[in-house]
Subunit: 113 residues, 2 copies
């Protein structure tokens, strides 16, 4: 079990903003997943990985792939009050789900640094 | 309603690691809060703020203050597999709770940049 959050790296968000958006994606995706998957993930300590996508189009494509695979996923758009324009896609949360299922979609992405 | 995550800035965590720890704190604190506060916070769009503390002692003090005020709060220690030593306190999540209650504890802290 794991959860993956894929970030729109083109935005080059500052650390605090990035962290808040990733947390938002993590919680939203968790809340949209099935109770048995939620429970299984909590029991193993909520492992999560933050990966990088090149731009908004890539994030959107990953979201659509996750939806097509029936994985819990939530696209996060910023409210636009501070750093970026309203409606900008900042990241997508996928899972918690089985690692093998998530890896089919995000397996080629790199860790954010 | 809001949630605050206070980060141990002394660790100078890389962006991906920081984001994952903040997400962990956000979700853990959410799950430990009362259902009526969870619901009220979800209804206003889960507002959250990421703040900075100077070191582990300050993060621990904030956690104790939150516990003393009966606010939902969760101290996050790293598993130590990657960037920092096992057991290192990386951050604390507080709330969701009423803003006035959280501000009594974290009102003097600065946004992380």
């Amino acid at each position: 079990m794991k959860q993956v959050i894929v970030v729109n790296a083109a935005l080059k968000l500052p650390r605090g903003k990035l962290s808040a958006q990733v947390a938002h994606a993590s919680l939203a995706s968790f809340l949209s997943s099935q109770p048995n998957l939620q429970q299984a993930w909590l029991e193993v300590g909520m492992p999560k990985v933050v990966l990088s996508a090149s731009n908004e189009e890539e994030v959107l494509g990953i979201y659509k792939s996750a939806q097509g695979a029936n994985l819990a996923s939530q696209l996060i758009k910023d409210a636009g009050k501070t750093v970026v324009s309203a409606g900008t896609i900042t990241c997508v949360g996928i899972g918690p789900a089985q690692e093998v299922d998530i890896n089919k979609i995000t397996g080629s992405l790199k860790l954010i640094v």
